[in-house]
């Protein structure tokens, strides 16, 4: 029996399994972690028919190659790391079908404004063990992923059962695509320690252009630019809770924006917290990207976040028009597990009186279910 999996040919410098993280354990010192770009992960999951919370592989910068050990539907979202399937360039934000032995590569960013982190999403999601409610990898704490680590050569990353089959050629509507890189403007909710900065320092922070440093990682995005000193010059506070998106100002008076692998507590004053709808732009900012800050109220930022969640919940993808779908794509077969039993499911576009039918992504299919494989 073959395993439904993605075999690692080359993991690249930093590829990790990530989902939406493990909230609820920060009081024990456990970071939330999860995808650095939550929006790209959520969109990718929805695109391939998964739950938004399923796990994908976050590929940082590139250098990664994988081999499918089974047929699968997949999509690449997030950064443009020049993905190819058997050497043929692939579009981002679109589903494709892979056959057994197909090789998926994400080698290097297409350009300086392509983003840093791409997500490999497969229908069914990656089925690595759940640790404290999440599959997300936190390498420092050796939690999640594959035995608490990043994938290495010849690991087979299991693919879960497909519950909501989708067709190749399904695309995210252009109006929902993020624009990474260039000069980014991110909105900041002031606090909780904004009162440690006087009006000059605060003006410097909001009126200056900062540059992303190459010392950034999944814990934090470090910025270079004008200093933001506290009123008394002391940058140590008695430790306080921190969340991803918080902007710490440590002793060198330069901002650090905390990202997914942020520690749970920190002893530096936080001048503000990035609005969640803008945090993906920071997570995708390559070294050299310029960043400017603009104030927003917590209420307005909440409204933006609620709006985005509603957009994701009500999303309708651009479906492949039947005229352009290859004939083989009008008939698909899936092996599914339902309550522990295996089924082989065939779906064929069209209607046949007396047969079970189903609407999938707006197309009517005749469904044949065979127990076993």
């Amino acid at each position: 029996m073959t395993v439904d999996a993605l075999r690692v040919v080359s993991p690249g410098p930093l590829s990790t399994i990530q989902d939406l993280g493990r909230p609820g354990y920060q009081r024990f010192g456990v970071s939330v972690s999860g995808a650095a770009d939550r929006y790209a992960l959520r969109l990718g999951n929805l695109l391939v028919g998964n739950d938004q919370r399923d796990a994908a592989i976050e590929v940082t910068i590139g250098g990664a190659e994988f081999e499918f050990t089974s047929r699968a539907i997949f999509a690449i979202t997030g950064a443009d790391l020049t993905p190819t399937l058997n050497g043929t360039p692939l579009a981002l934000w679109e589903t494709f079908g892979a056959d057994v032995g197909d090789r998926l590569s994400l080698m290097s960013p297409a350009g300086p404004d392509s983003g840093l982190r791409a997500y490999v999403n497969v229908s069914g999601g990656f089925d690595t063990p759940v640790v404290l409610g999440s599959r997300s990898t936190h390498i420092g704490a050796r939690l999640g992923g594959i035995e608490g680590r990043a994938p290495k050569i010849d690991d087979e990353i299991l693919i879960g059962p497909v519950t909501n089959p989708v067709l190749p050629g399904r695309r995210v509507p252009p109006k929902l695509l993020p624009q990474y890189g260039g000069d980014i403007l991110v909105r900041v909710i002031p606090g909780p320690q904004d009162d440690l900065f006087d009006s000059d320092a605060t003006a410097t922070f909001y009126n200056s252009t900062y540059t992303v440093s190459d010392k950034s990682d999944r814990m934090g995005c470090r910025l270079e630019g004008p200093e933001v000193p506290t009123i008394d010059g002391a940058h140590d506070i008695v430790s306080d809770g921190v969340l991803s998106g918080a902007i710490q100002i440590p002793g060198n008076a330069l901002p650090i924006i905390l990202l997914a692998d942020s520690q749970t507590t920190g002893g530096y004053p936080k001048i503000g917290v990035i609005a969640s709808v803008d945090l993906a732009l920071v997570a995708q900012a390559s070294p050299g990207t310029t960043v400017r800050f603009e104030r927003i109220s917590a209420e307005d930022a909440s409204a933006l976040a609620r709006g985005r969640m509603a957009t994701l919940r009500n999303i309708s993808f651009d479906e492949p028009a039947s005229g352009t779908v290859h004939s083989e794509e009008l008939r698909r077969e899936y092996d599914m597990r339902v309550n522990g039993s295996k089924y082989h499911v065939e779906i064929t576009a069209g209607v046949d009186e007396g047969q079970t039918s189903a609407m999938v992504n707006g197309i009517e299919y005749v469904v044949h279910v065979h127990p076993g494989e």
Binding site: F28, G29, D240, L243, A298
Partner: protein, 251 residues
């Protein structure tokens, strides 16, 4: 310890979906008690929109589901609880201390720097052990790494500077001293603390609920055990049959 001012509690905005209730700006038991009294009150209230609590030395961060609540609603919810939990902390008759007993093998291969700590203090190693295990340490908070306790209350007689060149690998369970702090490494990591002993108890196990054997806001007491006992306990820990002893005492 930098005892701070006891402030009137302040509710601060921490992004679009979190509030921080700040009780002070220093490290002292009164402030810390208030943090955990509020954390307990939030738990008891079973507000469905609360998704995360991060208690620290002097503040409680409350993260909420912004689709179920709002800045205004959460501020009102916390303001009400702050008022009621402040009353309960002043009622000392009801305050009980939870003390978790961690077995520790001191010195030798278990704590290579015990002699240095004794030399620095100008006392014997037995005296260091007696002083270190003779105090109940408040777990002010957990942070830095999973299961890492920030402990308060070490006797300053055994305060010792960190080693000049940090070790590349400190074994999990190592009990150390750095200046006036004492702590335990939950997992193997690089570190510069003076190592005086080792506990066979796992401070963080993601397969156990809760993953840490003691709760923040409680107390830890180090119990000296022999090399033989620590091996026996390590076996029980590996089999999953060891339980950290907890006793409750009125303050």
């Amino acid at each position: 310890m930098t005892a701070g001012t006891h402030l009137e509690p302040r509710i601060l905005i921490c992004g679009e979906d979190a509030l921080v209730v700040e009780f002070g700006n220093g490290i002292d038991p009164v402030t810390n008690d208030r943090v955990y009294a509020l954390a307990a009150a939030v738990e008891v209230a079973k507000n469905k929109s609360v998704i995360e609590l991060i208690p620290t030395y002097r503040s409680l961060l409350v993260q909420y589901d912004l689709e179920l609540s709002s800045v205004a609603d959460m501020t009102e919810f916390l303001n009400d609880l702050v008022a009621s939990s402040m009353v309960s902390t002043e009622d000392h008759d009801n305050t009980r201390r939870q003390i978790y007993e961690l077995p520790v093998a001191y010195g030798g291969e278990h704590g290579e720097d015990l002699d240095d700590v004794a030399d620095h203090a100008g006392i014997t190693t037995d005296e260091v052990i007696a002083i270190h295990s003779g105090t109940d340490y408040r777990v002010y908070m957990l942070g830095f790494a999973p299961g890492f306790p920030y402990l308060g209350g070490m006797d300053e007689r055994i305060a010792t500077p960190r080693i000049a060149s940090p070790r590349i690998r400190v074994p999990a369970g190592s009990v150390g001293i750095a200046e006036t702090q004492t702590g335990v490494y939950p997992m193997a990591s690089p570190g510069g603390w003076r190592l005086i002993g080792n506990t066979p108890v796992s401070l963080f196990d993601p397969n156990v609920h809760p993953p840490v054997p003691f709760l923040p806001g409680s107390f830890i007491r180090f119990m000296p055990v022999s090399s033989e006992d620590t091996k026996r306990i390590a076996n029980q820990v590996a089999k999953g049959t060891y339980r950290v002893q907890m006793t409750e005492q009125a303050e």
